[in-house]
Amino acid sequence: MATGFFTDTTLCIGCKACEVACKQWNELPSDGFTFTGNSYDNTSELSGTTWRHVAFVEQMSVDQQGGLHDRWLMSSDVCKHCTNAGCLEACPTGAIIRNEFDSVFIQPDVCNGCGYCVVSCPFGVVDLIEKFDPDGTHYNLASLAESRLDAKQTAVQQSGGVAGKCTLCYDRQKVGFEPACAKACPTESIQFGDIDELRERARVRVETLADRGVEAQLYGADDVGGGIGSLNAFFLLTDRPETYNLPAQPVLPSTRQPAGYAAAAAAAVGLAIAGWMIFRNA
C-alpha cells in the first residue's frame, strides 16, 4: 500500500511537536541552540539529522486605507517522497530504494557517503549526516543503530558521513504504527494514511476552505511538473510555494542527462576527427 503525508498548513500551530517526536523516535542529534531571528524558526532547514522542519512566515501589510493586515503562516516541511525521486535515481550504490510503502528510503549500511543525492534532490531535502565526533556531540544514525549490536566502533562511525532524510518512519509502519510526527501532531495538520485517500481528503479540504473564503492550493497532490510527478508527502498552502521555501517549478535532474551525453559525444567525435587528421597528415 502506498502511504504518505498530507500536511495541511492551515491547521499548523507551529508547536514543533513533529520536530521533537521525529528527533526522539529516530534518535537524531540536536541541531544546537541557534537564534536566527527569522520569526520562531530556529531550526532553519531540513538536514541529514533534521527530518521535520516547521517554517514560520509572518506577513504584515497595510492596505490603501491604512488598515493593518497580518497573517502568520506555519508549515511543517518534510521529505516529499517523490514519484520520480532525484536522489533515488542518482544514488550509485542502490542504497536509496523505494520500499513497500512507496516511500523513498536510504539504507544507511549501503550508503557510501558520495553525496550525489544531496545535489540531485530538487527540494534540497537530503544531506550528509555529520561525521562521527568521538566527544559524542554529533553522531550518525547508522552508527547509533550498529553500536547497539557491537560496542566497538563500527566502520560507519570511523569514517562517518552517510546521507540522511525522513524514512516516513519505515520501522513504525512495519509494525502498523503511524509515523512519529503525525502521531504527535496535536491539530492533525500532519495526516498520515493511504495516499489516494489523503488526496481525496485534501481536495475536500480545499473546497471547504474556499467556502469559508480562504484561498488554498494543494502542492504535490498532483504532478508538480519537471518530470517529478506527484509527491507522497504533499501540502495544502495558502500562499505561493516559494513563501514556504518550496519550489514552484522543480526539475528532475535526470531529464538533463540526454542533452549532456549528446553534447559530450558531439565534442568527442569532433575532437577525434580533428585528432585523426592531425596524426594522419603528420
Binding site: E45, G94, C111, N112, V119, P253, S254, A264, W276
Partner: protein, 331 residues
Amino acid sequence: MPNLPPNPDDAFLGAVSRNGHHETPAAPTYYDRPMLKAPHWEWNVVTYLFLGGIMGGLGLIQLLAHPERDDERRLKRTARITSFILAAGNPAILITHLGRPERFLNMLRIVKVKSPMSLGVWGLVLYSGAAGANVVRELAVDGVLPRWMRFLAPGFMAPAQALLGAFTAGYTGVLLSATANPFWGSGKRHIPAASVCSGLASASALASLLSTLEGNHQAVHKLERLEMVAGAAELLVLADFKRASGTYGKPFFEGKRGERMRTYTMLAGTIAPMALNLLGQMVKLPKPVDAVRTTVASVLTLVGGYVLRDSLIEAGKDSARDPHAAFRQPR
C-alpha cells in the same frame, strides 16, 4: 490598530500580494535561506574529475598514435602506461572522499543507467581493464612480459579504450550538469562538452610533457596541435556557456571566481599555451629552449584544467545557496 505606512523594504510585503493588498516587484523567498543543499565536494572530487578527463583524453591519444611510425609507437606506449596508472590511482582519490576503501565497492553492486555516478564508476572500471590489457600488450611486445601475453590484448582493445575514455571524460561533465543545481543545470550541454575538450587538452599536455622528457620531439609536435584544437574548442564552449547561462552563470563567470577562471583557465591555461604551441609549430627553436617552451605550455594547460573543474564545483556551491536561482530552475 497602529496606522503604519507601507514600507517597500519589508520583505514580507510581497508575500501577501495574493490578498491583493500590495504587489512588489521582487518575489520574496523564505528569509533568503537556501532552498537547495550545496555539494559536499572538496579537492578530492575536483582531482577525481580532473584526472578522469586526462585519463579519457589519453584513451584517444593511444588510439591515434600509429604503431608503425617510431615516434608514435613510443607515444602509444607512454599514453597507455600513463592512462593505466591514472585509472588505477583515481579510485584511490575517490576513496579519500568516501572515507573508507570498502565504500568504493558499494558502487560495484549495481549498475544504474539513470545515475551518471554509477555509469561513470563502471566506465572507470572497464577503462582500467582496457588500459590494463593494452599495457600488458606493450610490455609483452617489449619483452618485459612473455611474448604470448600480447594475445591478452586483442586489437579491439585500442578503440575500446578510446571509446571508454570519451565516456569517462564526458561523464565528469554530465555528473555535474544532470543535477538539481541551477548553475550546473544551466550548462547541461556546455559543461559536458567543456569537460571533454578540457580533458583532451590536459591529456595532450601531459603526453607532451612526458614525450619531452623522453626526447620524443616528433610526437610532441603532433600532440601540441591536438592540444591547440582541444583548447580552442574549450574556449568556444566556455564563451557560448557564458552567453547561454545568463544570470545562472554569475557564480562562475563573475566576481573573484570568474576572474580566477578567466586568468588561469582561459588566459594562462588555454590562450597562453596555444600561443606557445603555435610558436613551436612555426619556429624551429634550439632543443633545450623548445623543451622549456613545451614544459611551460603543458604545465599551464594542466593548471588551467584543474582550475576549470575547481571553479565549476565552487560555483555550484554558491548557486545552490542562492534561492532566487533555485526557484527559477533552468529548463
